[in-house]
């Protein structure tokens, strides 16, 4: 719907000398003034400045302009600025068009004459297009103030607490039986060496007790639908076979259970029971029965836990439940898992009992771990020497190309703990030491002073082949010492593999459900690496912690808080304006072939079987146009990018005014 004949104002920006240094702006505005429907054409030093915007507003008001073209930078920079100016002056913001003569022209064209010509062409295209623009209005929807946090590690817990403290409801979904994540496994944390449990256990308790947090442990997200402000999420609650309301957490069941299996939490260093809580401070402390190893589930008899549970909490009849919740935003904080070094056969993990992964070594150091915090070999001896191998799986073309960021630091933490607890010689084999962070380089210096041996070289082999009799029973660590320029074979009693971090299994499923992507290494892609680190291309979906890439606890916590802030800011807006440049399906023309549904990467199209047509959910549509291009029946129009507008722009770009074929006058009338 257009009111009157187009009356266009054209404004050519100098952008200081960014544009005017190459483009003859004077000539461009003069040229523009002669184009069809152009009433006014001017040039100005900085169009985005207040006087620049005021110029547009005043001209619209004084001269009854109803269309505006600004030739300046990219629309990504300032389209919004000028749309707002148009609106302020009383015309529909979609009656505006931007010609990009900086990024697409002055910055990339060498010859000033060619640059000026190109600017004229671009302006001509925009003028031709804007005449065809239609009025569009954006819709406003309510934002549901509830938030879903996926993953209960330190970043997810922090995000949940901040939002809950802000008075909003949080659903915290954790797939393990307890919240806490990887940090719960540690003893000390670098670089301050403060006790991990002392700083994380209070968080676990706070999350468990917060009235605004609904914790759903041993649960997974099964489905996400809807859009920013209005998501519907299905949560699959796995059966614990223990009634959480009745259970007192006394632990008798675990004690009496006869079935033992390797403990995931202790990374196979100890055994747990078939009915268990992962660790003593688990939140909640309601146990779960692992049906794969429960004798009753396997063989039909036992029920020892049931017999001994005084509270009568054991319930073998529990079934999986699907719970549906409504939230306005989602924070993903699924964290990481450690790299399994078994494929690096040269390091003999799994073959030599004294080769450990770093996460196992965390457990060994932990007071509740397999050795109650004592550093001893499997046969109970205090080690005389320990080797720590950096970059296992990381910075390796065969496995993970990237640096896992925390391994140098936690390796040095280990060196300190070994020296402190056993006095053993420690050899750190490294490629480069990466210690950027507050107090981190100082920690490295401290370790050197403590007498840790740093050997720069990638370890080629760990072997039990010793050359001299006194080394019998030890492991030899073979590496080229690239500073001393010789091959070293160092006998040690224990080896720690500082394995890298990789995305938590199942991250692709979560990403797919919320319509975002992961990078080639599997980490979630943030909206912008610098300016949008916690947002994603899907509105209302935020990320925090290691699901975006390896990072330490301070960064994970900061991101948790940042994501909480972003979610709260969204909530406090209360309402949300939805972009008007979305696609629309003409129900008269749609024949229900569903091809558009297939090509829409945002899941914005749904099919109505009863009517045999497809429909666009405007709140989800990003206006990419895939559907419009695909529809075989031309039933889909992408607003603000319809055929009329695009063809007019193309013709404008390619032909001079005399050749205008698109019948602007008749149609505009």
């Amino acid at each position: 719907m257009r009111e009157s004949k187009p009356k266009i104002g054209v404004y050519v920006c100098h952008c200081g000398t960014n544009i005017s240094g190459k483009v003859d702006v004077e000539a461009v505005s003069e040229y523009a003034s002669a184009l069809p429907h152009v009433a006014i054409a001017k040039n100005f030093k900085f169009m985005c400045s207040s006087p620049g915007q005021q110029l547009v507003i005043d001209d619209i008001r004084k001269n009854d302009l109803n269309r505006v073209v600004v030739a300046s930078c990219s629309p990504r920079m300032h389209e919004k600025t000028f749309r707002t100016a148009c609106q302020a002056a009383g015309i529909n913001p979609y009656y505006f068009q931007m010609a990009c003569i900086r990024e697409h022209d002055s910055w990339v064209t060498e010859d000033p004459e060619a640059a000026t010509q190109k600017a004229k062409d671009l302006v001509r295209g925009s003028v031709a297009r804007v005449a065809h623009h239609q009025q569009l209005t954006s819709r406003v929807v309510d934002i549901n103030p509830n938030v879903l946090v996926i993953g209960g590690g330190i970043s997810g817990m922090q995000a949940a607490l901040d939002i809950a403290d802000g008075g909003k409801k949080v659903y915290l979904v954790e797939r393990d039986p307890s919240i806490g994540g990887n940090m719960s496994k540690f003893d000390k944390t670098f670089p301050t060496l403060d006790c991990a449990a002392c700083i994380s256990t209070p968080k676990l308790v706070a999350v468990g007790q917060h009235e605004n947090i609904e914790m759903m442990t041993y649960s997974e997200v099964a489905d996400v639908s809807g859009f920013v402000g209005n998501f519907t999420v299905k949560i699959r609650k796995k059966p614990r076979y223990v009634d959480a309301d009745k259970c007192t957490g006394c632990g008798v069941c675990t004690e009496k259970c006869p079935s033992k299996v390797l403990s995931e939490f202790d990374h196979d260093l100890t055994k747990r029971k078939a009915i268990f809580t992962p660790f003593p401070q688990s939140v909640p402390n309601t146990p779960v029965i692992d049906t794969e190893n429960c004798l009753f589930f396997k063989k039909g008899k036992c029920r020892a836990c049931e017999k001994f549970c005084e509270a009568g909490a054991i319930d073998f009849e529990q079934k999986e439940e699907i719970v549906e919740i409504n939230v306005g935003s989602i924070i993903i904080a699924t964290g990481f898992e450690t790299f399994d070094p078994t494929p690096l056969t040269q390091y003999g993990f799994g073959r030599y009992p004294e080769v450990y992964t770093s996460i196992q070594f965390e457990r060994i150091n932990n007071a509740t771990g397999p050795t109650s915090g004592k550093i001893v070999t499997k046969d109970g001896k205090k080690p005389e020497s320990v080797a720590i191998i950096h970059c296992v799986g990381s910075r390796d073309q065969n496995y993970m190309k990237y640096c896992s960021r925390v391994c140098c630091m936690y390796s040095m933490k280990f060196a300190h703990l070994v020296r402190e607890k056993t006095g053993a010689e420690v050899y750190e084999f490294y490629i480069d030491i990466r210690s950027p962070g507050k107090g981190y380089e100082e920690f490295y210096n401290r370790l050197q002073e403590e007498g840790t041996h740093f050997i720069r070289g990638k370890v080629s082999q760990i072997t039990d082949m010793v050359d001299s009799p006194e080394d019998e029973g030890k492991l030899m660590v073979v590496a080229e010492d690239t500073l001393a320029r010789k091959v070293r074979r160092i006998p040690v009693d224990m080896v720690v593999l500082s394995v890298g971090l990789k995305p938590a299994a199942g991250i692709e499923d979560i990403a797919r459900m919320v319509g975002i992507s992961v990078d080639s290494d599997g980490w979630i892609n943030e909206l912008h690496p610098k300016l949008g680190p916690l947002a994603t291309p899907s509105d209302g979906i935020f990320i925090a912690g290691c699901c975006q890439g390896p990072k330490d606890i301070p960064d994970s916590v900061a991101q948790g808080q940042g994501a909480a802030g972003a979610a709260l800011s969204l909530i406090s807006r209360g309402k949300l304006e939805i972009e008007a440049a979305v696609s629309a399906i003409d129900p008269e023309r749609c024949m229900g072939c569903r091809q558009c549904e297939e090509v829409c990467v945002y899941g914005a199209i749904s099919y109505h079987p009863a009517l045999n047509i497809c429909e666009v959910n405007e709140a989800i549509c990003k206006g990419c146009g895939n559907c419009a291009a695909t529809c075989p029946n031309k039933a889909i129009d992408l607003k603000h990018f319809n055929n009329d507008e695009l063809l007019a722009e193309m013709e404008g770009l390619m032909f001079g005014p005399a050749d205008f074929h698109h019948g602007t006058d008749e149609q505009a009338a």
Binding site: L344, T345, Q346, R351, Q461, T463, M465, D467
Partner: protein, 280 residues
């Protein structure tokens, strides 16, 4: 089953390799068709010069095989195996080199296209035959015979495609198939024996061989089983007058022959420097 066969220079002289390979192949129904007029592959020594001749040597062997209509070349030496594969890979990547090499080959009317599979006999036996077709020939119970599988450093590197690069298991499987016990934690599996450097740098190579032997002896292996004439010779000869505990070093084909009931004499086991006597 019929395969093209490249014996290599050391095969005939190696202690019973030829005799045992022929005997075992006959039993298994593997027909090894020798490439006519083959030459030395150049091994690691020539290869390291990276001269055009270093490519022509292996390329000529492969061109001869192509001329004979063979599509696969089976090797019995790790150096031959890896030299042919390396040459094949290099010639596929470098057109210029390929042209030069073919120019040289053209003088003999030969042409190298590279359309060949390069393989090692041990891998052929494990991968192409059914376990049952091997097991049915077993005549002797070797269940108490602990065998250290020594692969050497060249079989799986750099490709690591037929097996793991550092801790291969193909020969372990073969040892198990014929009823013997592979030494499970043999760490020296892929240590280098020094190859031809044993001649010029004996002082550097002896410790390498000592490790290979010692790891087998200390873990109670009764024999070391090899796949390559040079490996066998180095590991065997290094023990001579070393004063250290000794262990016989045999070829995998000899081990198979023993299981198949062939006599120690047929398998020429008396040719080993470290005396072999089966005591199971």
């Amino acid at each position: 089953m019929k395969y093209g066969f490249f014996p290599g220079c050391s095969y005939k002289g190696a202690a019973g390799y030829k005799e045992s390979t022929e005997a075992v192949s006959r039993l298994l129904g593997i027909e090894l068709v020798e490439i006519q007029d083959w030459n030395c592959c150049g091994a690691t020594s020539y290869w390291s010069t990276q001269s055009i001749e270093a490519y022509v040597l292996p390329a000529r062997i492969m061109a001869l095989a192509e001329k004979q209509g063979l599509s696969e070349i089976v090797n019995v030496c790790n150096a031959c195996y890896s030299t042919l594969r390396k040459a094949q890979e290099k010639l596929a990547q470098d057109n210029d080199l390929n042209e030069k090499v073919n120019l040289a080959l053209a003088e003999e009317g030969l042409k190298y296209t590279g359309n060949l599979n390069i393989r090692h006999l041990m891998e052929v036996i494990v991968n192409d035959l059914n376990a049952d077709d091997i097991k049915k020939h077993i005549k002797k119970d070797l269940s108490g015979f602990v065998v250290a599988p020594y692969y050497g450093c060249q079989l799986n590197r750099p490709w690591a495609d037929i097996d793991d690069a550092h801790y291969p298991v193909l020969m372990d499987r073969l040892i198990e198939m014929v009823g013997a016990k592979p030494l499970k934690n043999y760490s020296a599996k892929t240590e280098c024996c020094g190859a031809a450097h044993m001649v010029a740098h004996k002082d550097l190579c002896m410790p390498l061989n000592n490790r290979i032997v010692k790891d087998a002896v200390s873990k109670s292996a009764q024999t070391i089983c090899t796949l390559c004439p040079l490996c066998q010779f180095n590991v065997d000869a290094s023990q001579y007058k070393s004063g250290l505990p000794m262990v016989p070093v045999i070829f995998f084909t000899q081990m198979m022959g023993l299981a198949f009931g062939l006599s120690e004499k047929d398998l020429k086991l008396q040719k080993l420097l470290t005396p072999f006597k089966l005591a199971v």
